[in-house]
Amino acid sequence: MTDRSPNGATVWARHSRLRVVPPVQPRKLAKVPFVELADGRLQGVVSSGSDIGRVYVSSIAAGSHNYNCSTNNNRPCGGLYGSPCKHLRALVAEAVVQYGADRVCRYLRVEVPEGADPADCLGGVHEPAPAAVVFSRFLRHLAYLEVPDTTLPIPELHWFPATGTVG
């Protein structure tokens, strides 16, 4: 976020009206409906290719790059044979679309040589992690679409300007 500081430290420090979290890029959500950089992990939900009612919860820890993939009922993914499965690779690919490679690599603390796929540069091993937390964050994410709109003013949103168009 520091690289978005318009004119250096002092200016950033004294601004009230900023977009601190850069907006994400829109992407196709069918395969990977949910991706986030949170709780020290790149984590998300990947739709099963064969069963419309099933999803996989996939995560990669920042730093160690240890990974996990399981169904939302905590059944381990059958594709984890000592290396990341296709769900994990899809997760990384979609995270790069959504956040940009820089932000993803910075968060995971991974060095990616020019032209390489970040998914090939992760060194971790399979380490079970609770899927329930990520899955409930996904459900919470979906629940935003159920919150009714309001025509009462929210003056607090003046702190959150919309930004976007470049050029």
């Binding site: 950089l37 929210i154 919309a162 168009t165």
Partner: protein, 497 residues
């Protein structure tokens, strides 16, 4: 806005808030710095800054309470009540800065503003004396919570907010970790379930997302110090029992012709607000008045750009007025004491064409501006519509108006509309919002008149309210609209009903 008005606003001490404002801001900065490192780790210098904030109120009725709070916090005993008192002090100081800024803007523009009506119990105020009322709800939590507890079912949730904010203040931004941020999730969820508490939910959600995205903060080089202190203070203020249920209050119902000046768009990952600025010509022939009307929607971060308008489809008539640039006849629509019209399609019909520039030329100069409610007296909320014409665009994109230069905030052009920095730079007339941030005045464009391929066109932020008219943007929107469909399908299958 004429050259002479701009010169009056920026003249002398350019962008300064006036007498005493610099000192007030310096006190804020000192306190804000204490929050960076956490109140549990107050080095001498930062302890002095907290004491200085309190000392500024020595001669006021708040003096004793603030002095006591500062002493306690410095000595390491940090209770809710102490934090509330200090936050109240910060609210009061920034309220005074707001008042000074808005007054200098109104004076420069020759804009008349309605008086804030005194509260029935005599606590209300007018004009410059914002300190007392602004801090009132924050400074008397004990009395208020006693009175409200019987009718405040959300009390537990608000208590949760206050203790999370206390943890934050004790820890400081530098000490924030994933666990502390995640603790906000459940609180936000509970707040969202209570319509009365929506404002706090939206604020806290946006704030927590920033802390989350910045984690680990300990090593980060630059922090938005004033911003996060603003958000923390605001959240603490709104989390006092009874504040959110008390305002804004309905003031009247109004009828007449509404001329749209433009749309200001506010957005973070999980919320977007379209705030329309307009002039109402009352049906009874009274004085035209400036007002706003807004629609706010919950969303997720992957829904962005022109697709955002789709989330507001319920308000078709408002969207049509924006997209087709028409004025609206409204009948008996509720108006809040904050100058916000509570939009309802059923009380409106779309009328004759009127683009934002024409509307501004026609009726902006004599319109009466709404009073600002005491709790909303924060500089960030200053957003005064103006019409600027006859300027030269400078190399950096600012407007040179007869030798005085007004900075243009081209970064605040929303992605959901067709207005771009390039169009603003090619413009000859502009309707925008005058804002103040980080010590200077800027213009946030809402609509411009510009020459594109030798043809004069008007482009406004709300042009795409019914969908993008540009093929490239329409394609992008189709892709993004698909996002809403996919997520709704997933929600239908996976959310427990």
């Amino acid at each position: 806005m004429l050259a002479v008005q701009l010169a009056a606003l920026l003249g002398g001490d350019s962008g300064k808030a006036g007498e005493g404002a610099e000192e007030a801001l310096a006190l804020l900065d000192g306190f804000d710095d204490a929050l960076v490192h956490g109140l549990a780790r107050l080095a001498d210098e930062r302890a002095e800054a907290v004491a200085a904030l309190a000392a500024a109120f020595a001669a006021t009725p708040l003096g004793d309470r603030l002095a006591e709070a500062a002493d306690a916090v410095v000595s390491g005993s940090i209770t809710q009540e102490h934090l509330t008192a200090l936050a109240g002090g910060r609210v009061a100081l920034s309220g005074a800065v707001h008042d000074a800024l808005l007054e200098s803007l109104d004076t420069a523009l020759g804009r008349e503003r309605a008086e804030w009506p005194p509260a029935p119990d005599g606590l209300g105020t007018t004009g410059g004396a914002a300190v007392q009322p602004a801090v009132q709800p924050a400074a008397q939590p004990a009395a208020q919570s006693a009175a409200q507890s019987a009718v405040q079912p959300a009390g537990n949730v608000l208590g949760g907010v206050r203790s999370w904010l206390r943890e934050l203040a004790i820890t400081g931004w530098r000490g924030v970790d994933h666990d502390l941020v995640s603790a906000a999730d459940q609180i936000v969820e509970a707040l969202l379930a209570a319509p009365d508490l929506r404002r706090l939910a939206v604020l806290l959600d946006g704030f927590a997302a920033e802390l989350r995205a910045s984690c680990p903060i300990g090593s980060a080089e630059h922090l938005p110090v004033r911003r996060w202190a603003d958000l923390w203070t605001r959240a603490l203020l709104l989390s006092q029992d009874g504040v959110l249920t008390a305002e804004p209050r309905p003031a009247a119902t109004v009828s007449g012709r509404l001329l749209v000046l433009g749309v200001d768009v506010h957005e973070h990952g999980t919320a977007v607000q379209f705030q329309v600025h307009a002039v109402l010509e009352p049906a009874d022939g009274g004085r035209p008045r400036l007002l706003r009307t807004s629609v706010a929607v919950a969303k997720v971060d992957t829904i962005a750009g022109p697709a955002l308008w789709k989330l507001t489809q319920r308000h078709k008539l408002l969207l049509a007025a924006l997209a087709d640039r028409r004025c609206v006849e409204i009948t008996d629509m509720p108006l809040l004491d904050s100058g916000d019209l509570v939009w309802d399609d059923d009380h409106a019909f779309v009328s004759k064409p009127a683009d934002p520039l024409a509307a501004a030329r026609l009726c902006l100069s004599g319109a009466l501006a709404p009073a600002v409610p005491p709790l909303d007296r924060v500089a960030v909320r200053i957003a005064e519509p103006v019409l600027v014409e006859g300027y030269k665009v400078t190399k950096d994109g600012s407007f040179d108006l007869g030798g005085t230069v007004l900075a243009v905030d081209a970064q605040r052009l929303p992605e959901c509309g067709p207005l771009t920095p390039k169009l603003v730079a090619a413009s000859s007339a502009c309707v925008g919002l005058v804002r103040w941030d980080a010590g200077r005045w800027t213009l946030q464009p809402l609509a411009v008149q510009a020459k594109v391929k030798r043809e004069a066109v008007v482009v406004a932020t709300g042009d795409w309210a019914l969908g993008p008219t540009d093929p490239k943007a329409a394609k992008a929107e189709a892709r993004a609209a698909d996002a809403v469909t996919v997520l709704r399908e997933r929600a239908g299958r996976l959310l427990r009903r």
